[in-house]
């Protein structure tokens, strides 16, 4: 820089003047920093890292069984009026696929099939659903998996939220007015 440029008055101006071209390096560091996360995410979608970021376990639902996973570990996503959403992945046992009509996930016990919660959808080998986190969710709440058969039968299983998503529990504890 030429010395003829007027001396900047404030520290901020001086720092800007001195380091403004370093912005280029800072900008370039962003994608480099996110590259491992990008490739990990691509691998997750490809299914090479398992069902989800954190496998919860295999659960028996009536005559069937299902593997359940937390898709991303972390806070739920705020989706405007829809509320806060947490995504889970489910893989039903291969032998039960032809017999299962639909599967649903809900935080809190569903009163009936109509309120079974979010419909699991997508590849039969990795069904996904975004589950609403209701206002009254506590650390003692359960994640309910409902499976409906083509024969009309309906089966449930409840997974303690502390097991289903410790990251959701930690988010709940950080909410204003959280109940212990």
């Amino acid at each position: 820089m030429s010395k003829a440029i007027a001396a900047p008055q404030t520290t901020a101006q001086r720092l800007w003047h001195r380091y403004r071209f370093h912005l280029n390096i800072a900008m370039l560091a962003i994608p480099l920093g996110f590259m491992p996360a990008y490739f990990e995410n691509a691998a997750m979608f490809r299914g090479t890292l398992g069902l989800g970021e954190r496998e919860i376990g295999e659960f028996t639902v009536g005559p069937w069984s299902a593997r359940v996973a937390e898709w991303h570990v972390g806070d739920p996503e705020a989706e405007g009026k829809a509320g806060n959403m947490k995504e889970f992945a489910v893989a039903l046992c291969e032998a039960c696929l032809p017999k299962v009509k639909a599967a649903y996930l809900r935080i809190g016990k569903p009163r009936n099939l109509r309120t079974a919660g979010a419909l699991l959808s997508g590849s039969p080998y990795r069904l996904m659903a975004e589950v609403v986190v209701p206002q009254n969710t506590t650390a003692a709440s359960d994640l309910w998996l409902t499976v409906e058969g083509w024969d009309g039968s309906v089966h449930h299983t409840a997974i303690p939220l502390a097991n289903a998503s410790p990251s959701l529990i930690s988010w709940l504890e950080r909410q204003p007015g959280a109940r212990p």
Binding site: M1, S2, A4, I5, A6, R20, F21, L23, N24, M27, L28, I30, P31, F34, M35, A37, Y38, N41, A42, A43, F45, R46, G47, T48, G50, L51, G74, E77, A78, G80, K81, A89, A91, E94, P98, K99, K101, A102, L119, L120, S121, G122, S123, P124, Y125, R126, L127, G149, W150, D151, G152
Partner: protein, 399 residues
């Protein structure tokens, strides 16, 4: 300044604005331009590198298989695979793509010969197209809650690009003369050459820079609308098959669904003007077949949803349903990416993308050789105003 700026001073200011516009982030802008250029032709680059995605018509009479035949061919070769969608190539030298998943949760795409139905290959773990688009589009910053902040970072560049175009044309006096008397002096040193190059490529890229900066700015607006939950869409909420429409079976197994060829036939019969180029299979017991393709207006897609059990058309998002505003906003993306008219349009976009990248680079070279001096002079003038001095600066400031 107490008195209004003189014409020369105003030109000088414009020139300095133009010169300084992208400078602190010139390298960021350059990489965004270069990755954008690569993204335009990324499929073609993959085509060159990977023979598995190539497919050509075996002879003039050969007809591509129907979607039903392709699905049957996949199931015959890999019965365990679940197929999510099939998409015909936009360019005839590409294979058909099928999105599939396998037991265990692996999901990827298959490249299928559209004439024989043979599975030619599996999408590689590193998806070059997706990577260049992610790098160009959102600087690899993940989408965790709404739009990624990288998306904002990149789309904000639309504004300095637009201002660069406008100020560039203001400071380049009578730029239209450059069309008739093109000048590219190669023997008078680097400064003169890069200056000529910058102006010459600039005037021939006016349309392209305008398209890219306006559509880029649209991406910023699009993200803002989405993050503030403002919708301008005329498309209704997604429809589902009603519970009573899902057949109940006696054997306790899934009821049969209509085949892909029946679905395409229903679409052809009931939705005139819909050219089918992709089909998505129901994702659960209550969802529809999705079917879609381009219509008479090449920049936009039309889609329809068809009930897998009854064949009823449950919904359609056709060109005739779109609002005028949607014609404008939905045209923005294809105008930005150049993927609406085959290979030649992509090559034109890639060429001008390269020219734009070179303009960022040549702008920097010119700046490093001259603008530092001009700015120093202007600052000196601001300190002690001397009329003759100011005039010299202005003449120096001519691009």
């Amino acid at each position: 300044m107490s008195k209004p700026m003189s014409k020369k001073n105003r030109a000088k200011t414009w020139f300095l604005v133009h010169s300084w516009l992208a400078l602190p982030i010139w390298f960021f802008l350059l990489i965004v331009c270069v990755t954008g250029t690569l993204a335009v032709v990324s499929q073609e680059i993959v085509w060159l590198a990977n023979p598995e995605i190539r497919a050509s018509q075996p002879d003039d009479d050969a007809q591509p298989l129907s979607y039903g035949q392709v699905l049957a061919a996949i199931h015959k070769e890999r019965p365990e695979l679940a197929v999510e969608w099939l998409s015909s190539p936009e360019e005839s030298h590409f294979a058909l793509t099928a999105s599939v998943s396998e037991p265990g949760g692996g999901s990827y795409r298959l490249y299928i010969n559209p004439y024989s139905g043979a599975i030619q290959g599996v999408s590689p773990t590193f998806d070059f197209s997706a990577f260049t688009r992610a790098l160009h589009g959102w600087w690899l910053v993940p989408f965790t809650n709404g739009y990624s902040w990288g998306w904002y970072l990149v789309s904000l560049l639309g504004l300095p690009l637009l201002v660069s175009l406008i100020t560039g044309l203001v400071v380049y006096k009578r730029f239209w003369k450059g069309f008739f008397t093109p000048r590219l002096r190669v023997t008078q040193g680097a400064r003169v050459f890069w200056g000529d190059f910058h102006r010459l490529s600039g005037i021939w890229s006016i349309w392209f820079i305008a398209v890219i900066s306006i559509t880029g700015t649209w991406f910023l607006i699009e993200a803002l609308l989405s993050d503030f939950h403002i919708s301008i869409s005329t498309e209704g909420p997604p429809s589902f098959v009603a519970r009573h429409e899902v057949p109940i079976t006696a054997d306790g197994l899934a009821p049969p669904r209509l085949g892909l060829d029946q679905i395409t036939a229903i679409a052809a019969e009931k939705i005139p003007g819909l050219e089918v180029s992709f089909i998505t299979l129901p994702e659960d017991a209550f969802s529809h077949y999705g079917i879609g393709g381009r219509g008479w207006y090449p920049l936009m897609f039309q889609t329809a949803e068809i009930n897998p059990y009854t064949g009823a058309v449950a919904g359609a998002n056709l060109l005739s349903n779109r609002s005028t505003l949607e014609f404008v906003t939905e045209s923005m993306r294809p105008l930005h990416t150049g993927d609406f008219g085959g290979l030649w349009i992509k090559l034109i976009w890639a060429f001008f993308g390269l020219v734009l990248s070179m303009m960022v680079l040549s702008g920097l070279l010119i700046w490093s050789k001259r603008t530092v001096q001009a700015t120093a002079n202007l600052t000196r003038r601001a300190q002690r105003v001397k009329p003759q001095h100011a005039a010299t600066i202005v003449s120096e400031g001519q691009p």
